[in-house]
């Protein structure tokens, strides 16, 4: 067995428990006795991948079916990769130590753009050809991808056989069922993919072709045969309450990023922040019922023994039954010393002081995300937070014993001026003022205000999808300016690496020309780009140059409103007309209130009929 070859390598690597599986609730099946073997690959480390909710859901759904076996694969850290390559050990699954190349289907979840080199590297380490053309020739496993980045699949079009766009719960089962039937009757790879291409939510890039204009710019994507859909509608699970959700999840031995039970209370968000891609992609907002959630919580805690549980969604504070849910969970599980993590902002209103004293509630760090420094810019991005709200909330928190608060901002947002940067420093001052307004004997000593500024990245399917990103120089200048401005006592300023955001912007809105860049970057050794210790900007710039392209031509491109966009063939449910209206409102500084208050006609209600409660 492969384990015997792996074990001797483990004393020489960091955190060896990442590579050996065998955890509680890991699914064990006889690989000989199943019909379809699916390798679920997460293109990052074990600790990151094991924290991902989507993987837990799909692992559960696939393995519930006796005839399918889903196993997990993570990117080995660089020390382990080196040891594996030196000893000719191929990438393998944690459940049965089976080489990934021996699976039927190899699936990657694409959570962020800067994991793409890891996708290529994992295929390489598995001994699976990277492009679908090469794989066709040797009958290698099919490579399928899902996750939010599948909404602009083009930068990976050469490498992937099939993209699954939208909610994956039904799609992943259909994939395995169709694969099983195809394998049983025998047929060509193209026949299988053609069949898949005609199921809602599936995109098979080989049946489409990109066109470029005289200047070499993207001019549209056309299908190369008329028996595939012109547009790919995302999949949407209308009724979350009846959707399958795991009642047991794997409990890792070694600490992972989110080491607790995650209860997905809702999917989607009604706030409509104009920079937020998830807020658009996961529409309509759907909730699980109180009964379903308390039942799941009971089963999950019993099957895992976890001592902590968090309520997960894009905006948990907006869940309609939050007070009842929190109270029910604390009452039922508090005696077993289970801590329920709640968004800090809502704790008081939700639970009241009595429950707060039971210590069964773990407050997540006190964080606020005003995102922009002035009311004008917050109106532009439709982030409904006011200075007064911020003051009141932190004042309240400081008087209840908090002494640390984190503020999140973005720089480089459309229409940003120096005044908006000054506004960031002003809001930091507002927080300081709120602290000192609390009588000395009531407030906790040791005030810490963390101010964090990330760089704006324009994303597909947002009202800012047409906008260019600031240049690295502009972003650095703004960071420098803020650093000076925020030179205040008790304030700690930190910022994100703008070089990484620059690449992220290119891959978020890029087209098929980036496939070559990605391959070149991999050849130059790029991997784990999201990790500072691994990120090699020079190598990336070299990769763009190898292909006669620049990163700036993608990241800093302003798309014309009527220009074809590389992701136009994907139908995310929100219409381009809506995004354009929102963009125009943004420029006028007009807000669009929460769509539970007022429907803005985003199109999702026509797309996913009757699900959107606010549009009834």
């Amino acid at each position: 067995m492969l384990y015997d070859a792996i074990a001797p390598l483990l004393p020489g690597v960091q955190k060896p428990a990442r590579y050996t599986g065998g955890e509680v609730n890991m699914v064990k099946k006889n690989p000989e006795a199943v019909r379809v073997r699916f390798a679920f690959c997460f293109p990052d480390t074990y600790e990151v991948g094991m924290s991902h909710l989507g993987m837990k859901i799909l692992y559960h759904i696939l393995n519930k079916r006796e005839e399918f076996y889903c196993e997990r694969v993570f990117a080995p850290w660089m020390d382990m990769e080196r040891a594996m390559r030196e000893n000719q050990i191929p990438l393998y699954s944690l459940e049965t130590f089976t080489p990934v190349r021996d699976f039927d289907l190899v699936g990657f979840t694409l959570q962020y753009e800067m994991s793409y080199t890891n996708v290529l590297n994992m295929l390489d380490l598995a001994g699976i050809p990277m492009t679908w053309r090469e794989r066709d020739a040797v009958d290698a496993p099919f490579v399928v991808c899902g996750g939010p980045c599948a909404f602009n699949p083009e930068p990976l079009a050469d490498f992937v056989d099939l993209f699954m766009v939208g909610d994956g719960e039904e799609q992943i089962l259909e994939l395995c069922e169709h694969y099983d039937a195809w394998k049983a009757r025998g047929g060509t790879r193209e026949e299988f993919l053609l069949e898949m291409a005609n199921i809602e939510g599936n995109y098979v890039p080989r049946f489409y072709e990109a066109q470029y204009d005289g200047a070499g710019e993207f001019a549209g994507l056309v299908r190369t045969r008329d028996d595939v859909p012109a547009r790919i509608r995302k999949r949407c699970i209308p009724d979350l309450d009846h959707a399958d959700y795991p009642d047991r999840i794997i409990v890792p031995f070694t600490e992972i990023v989110h080491d607790r039970v995650m209860l997905e209370v809702a999917r989607g968000c009604t706030r409509g922040c104009r920079f937020c891609q998830a807020g658009m992609l996961y529409r309509p907002q759907r909730e699980r019922s109180l009964e379903r959630l308390t039942d799941l919580a009971r089963k999950l805690l019993a099957s895992t023994g976890y001592e902590e549980m968090s309520l997960s969604s894009l905006s948990t504070g907006d869940y309609s039954h939050l007070p009842e849910l929190a109270r029910a969970l604390v009452e039922e599980h508090g005696c077993k010393k289970v801590a329920i993590s709640l968004p800090s902002l809502r704790i008081d209103s939700v639970l009241g002081e009595t429950l707060e004293q039971t210590q069964s509630v773990r407050k997540t760090g006190l964080t606020f995300a005003p995102e922009a420094g002035t009311q004008r810019l917050r109106d532009v991005i439709n982030k409904g937070v006011t200075e007064q709200q911020l003051y009141d909330s932190v004042h309240d928190a400081f008087s209840k014993g908090w002494s640390g608060v984190k503020l999140y901002f973005m720089i480089g947002l459309p229409t940003e001026t120096q005044e908006d940067l000054d506004g960031i420093a002003h809001l930091a001052q507002v927080v300081l003022d709120a602290y000192f307004a609390v009588p000395k004997e009531q407030r906790q000593k040791g005030l810490r205000v963390g101010v964090s500024a990330s760089s704006f990245v324009p994303k597909p399917f947002t009202p800012f999808q047409w906008e260019p990103q600031n240049s690295i120089e502009e972003l650095q200048e703004k960071q420098h300016y803020l650093k000076e401005k925020l030179h205040m006592r008790s304030v700690n300023f930190n910022w994100h690496e703008p070089h990484l955001s620059f690449l992220e912007a290119a891959f978020a809105r890029g087209d098929r020309r980036l496939c070559a860049v990605l391959r070149a970057a991999h050849a130059r050794g790029c991997k784990f780009d999201g990790w500072t210790e691994a990120f090699d900007f020079e190598a990336w710039m070299g990769a763009f140059a190898d292909c006669g392209l620049t990163c700036a031509q993608f990241a800093q491109k302003r798309f014309a409103l009527d220009a074809p966009l590389p992701w136009d063939h994907i139908d995310a449910g929100v219409t381009k007309a809506f995004l354009r209206r929102e963009w125009e409102k943004a420029l006028r500084g007009e807000v669009s209130p929460d769509c539970r208050i007022h429907c803005h006609g985003c199109g999702i209600n026509q797309f996913c009929k009757g699900v959107c409660k606010s549009c009834e």
Binding site: T20, E23, T254, G305, Y306
Partner: protein
């Protein structure tokens, strides 16, 4: 409750800290009436005799779990085993007196079996046993310092079967002074590709004789 458990195969790759949370969660899954500590972050009152190095296996780890109400040792072992992953297994359990000294306080020695592939270590072992003093660099939190490990090796033997050296050893393992198997293996030039199994944890009996720590903790 004092429980002896094995930690074999894949279970040898996580750390002592990971073992603590793994056992806590298993106890919770088994719904055993464990006692929790006070404070902001309550945890199960659970103490291990000693840590095991990452990569080493064991068939004799010991832990002491405080329970709120009495549970029969057999039932304890059975219920916990139903909730433990393959490779972790309670071998036996018995009631402990709440006022008995902690396992760590009674511990005197640890025994190991080590298989070293491809190296005949018989001569090295003989040389080691013949010396009165063997100084090695011992790394601790305070830095590196030279230590004479010879007196801490209470028994050592080596067999060679033509392919592997099989070492058996009993090493000092007390709160104040302990010798890790790795350090001795390093001194013997065993390389890094060996398989280490802990075979026993011992206390000192009334006459200074070697007794199993599991038994000794009874009084």
């Amino acid at each position: 409750m004092i429980a002896e458990f094995e930690k074999l195969g894949r279970m040898s790759w996580f750390s002592h800290l990971d073992l603590q949370s793994t056992m806590q969660r298993a106890l919770r899954r088994a719904d055993l009436p464990v006692r929790y500590s006070q404070g902001y972050n309550p945890h199960v009152n659970l103490a291990f005799a000693t840590a095991l190095s990452v990569g080493a296996q064991s068939r004799c780890e010991l832990m002491d779990v405080e329970l709120e109400e009495a549970v029969a040792p057999e039932a304890f072992a059975q219920r916990l085993n139903a909730c433990l992953p393959e490779g972790l297994k309670i071998r036996r359990a018995r009631l402990a007196d709440d006022h008995a000294p902690a396992l760590t306080a009674r511990m005197a020695e640890a025994g190991y079996e080590v298989r070293v592939p491809g190296l005949d270590l018989r001569a090295k072992v003989e040389g080691f046993l013949a010396s009165g003093e063997v100084i090695v660099e011992k790394r601790s939190k305070k830095g590196v310092k030279p230590v004479n490990i010879r007196p801490m090796v209470h028994a050592l033997a080596c067999e060679w079967d033509g392919e592997n050296s099989k070492l058996t050893m009993i090493l000092e393992q007390t709160n104040a002074n302990s010798l890790k198997a790795e350090l001795l293996l390093q001194a013997l030039g065993a390389g890094e590709r060996y398989a280490c199994l802990r075979t026993g944890l011992y206390a000192q009996g009334a006459q200074g004789e070697r007794v199993e720590l599991f038994e000794a903790a009874k009084e």
